[in-house]
Symmetry: C2
Subunit: 212 residues, 2 copies
């Protein structure tokens, strides 16, 4: 490996903090602020200034020495890094409590995500709209995916259905699955799976509570 193709890797923890920064920068921008220092951000985020400084430097946020990071420019680089500067079409499978809640979450527009279709098997859901999103029968998955050339799936089905649906998604050419089902999905290496599990957070909370 030469020194030329060695791009500076950005750590996962840094990536996970970016949305938080982005939110704050949006607010600053709305208020007309043009510069903000890492110490000011630290107060807002309850992180250490050095963490913020390194995170923003890692994504190449523009700055002015002794003055802070440039608000507009930093928004641009974070959005570009995450691909949130234009909308990715996605769809959701499993219109249960959580699935419906996600369909109703309008914050996704700011996160580069547009949910264009939903799928379920229950007759009383299929054919209706949830928060403006049309619900199709799961049997139509492959067809709709192909027709609309969709790449991102949000999986909010019960645990026992998750792997079956996943196999269908993979066959249909899906590139990324945001998995809210409490299962470890088996997929080929070319497919990205991002697992979401709130019980981890609850475990953390309970452990801290116990040790008090």
């Amino acid at each position: 490996m030469s020194i030329f193709n060695r791009k500076k890797e950005i750590s996962i923890q840094t990536i996970r903090r970016l949305p938080q920064y982005l939110r704050i920068f949006y607010n600053l921008h709305a208020y007309g602020r043009e510069l903000v220092s890492s110490t000011a951000l630290a107060e807002e985020t309850q992180l250490l200034p050095i963490v913020i400084k390194k995170d923003l430097q890692a994504v190449g946020a523009p700055s002015k020495l002794r003055a802070g990071f440039k608000v507009a420019g930093t928004i641009a680089v974070i959005e570009k890094f995450l691909g949130w500067n234009n909308l990715n079409k996605a769809f959701l499978v499993g219109v249960g409590h959580l699935g419906a809640a996600l369909l109703g979450f309008d914050g996704f527009k700011n996160h580069g995500l547009e949910i264009v279709a939903a799928f379920d098997t229950h007759p009383e859901k299929v054919g209706n709209q949830f928060h403006g999103v049309q619900v199709y029968h799961t049997a139509q998955l492959a067809t709709v995916i192909e027709k609309q050339n969709l790449k991102i799936a949000i999986l909010t089905v019960p645990a026992n259905a998750a792997q079956g649906i996943t196999d269908t998604l993979v066959t249909a050419g899906i590139k990324a699955i945001w998995n809210f089902a409490p299962v470890n999905l088996t997929v080929p290496p070319s497919v990205i799976v991002q697992k979401e599990d709130i019980s981890s957070g609850l475990a953390e909370l309970c452990a801290k509570l116990k040790s008090r």
Copy 2:
């Protein structure tokens, strides 16, 4: 600090993996399995055997040399470590899409959590039940908290309301807040805040997707 009161700290990452183990152990137990090896668990979880071994050793899971970890005994130590062996009463503030979804999530029983009350300000919600949980007006927060001696709050209100509600909760003597609002709450050091933010997961997903 003497060497005596130095208890082996369990890492946060280990704690966050415990619910996953617990789920698998519940299944194994239901199937009558008495022992399971770290290699078998590794296949199921897609983690490395060494990670699982160290995690389980950290919480003091009982094992049999050359045979694996004892299913029933490991369930017991994990549950005890997390305090999930008996139910903690909790309540939820903010019966929006996400709040309602959480009220409908019956998996909390396995996670040591029982939601006994909900709060909101919308007249059409107050006085009704959501998934069997009574919704009170937010103005009654302090009263209900005190009356039922509640310690854990689940916060699913809009960002702009979060800090105000939090101040009320703190005054009422709440010990832990599970925060789903995209805000950094300010609380006294005695109060635990566990922040939940799905946009971090989405950022991770998008970053991986871009770098393909």
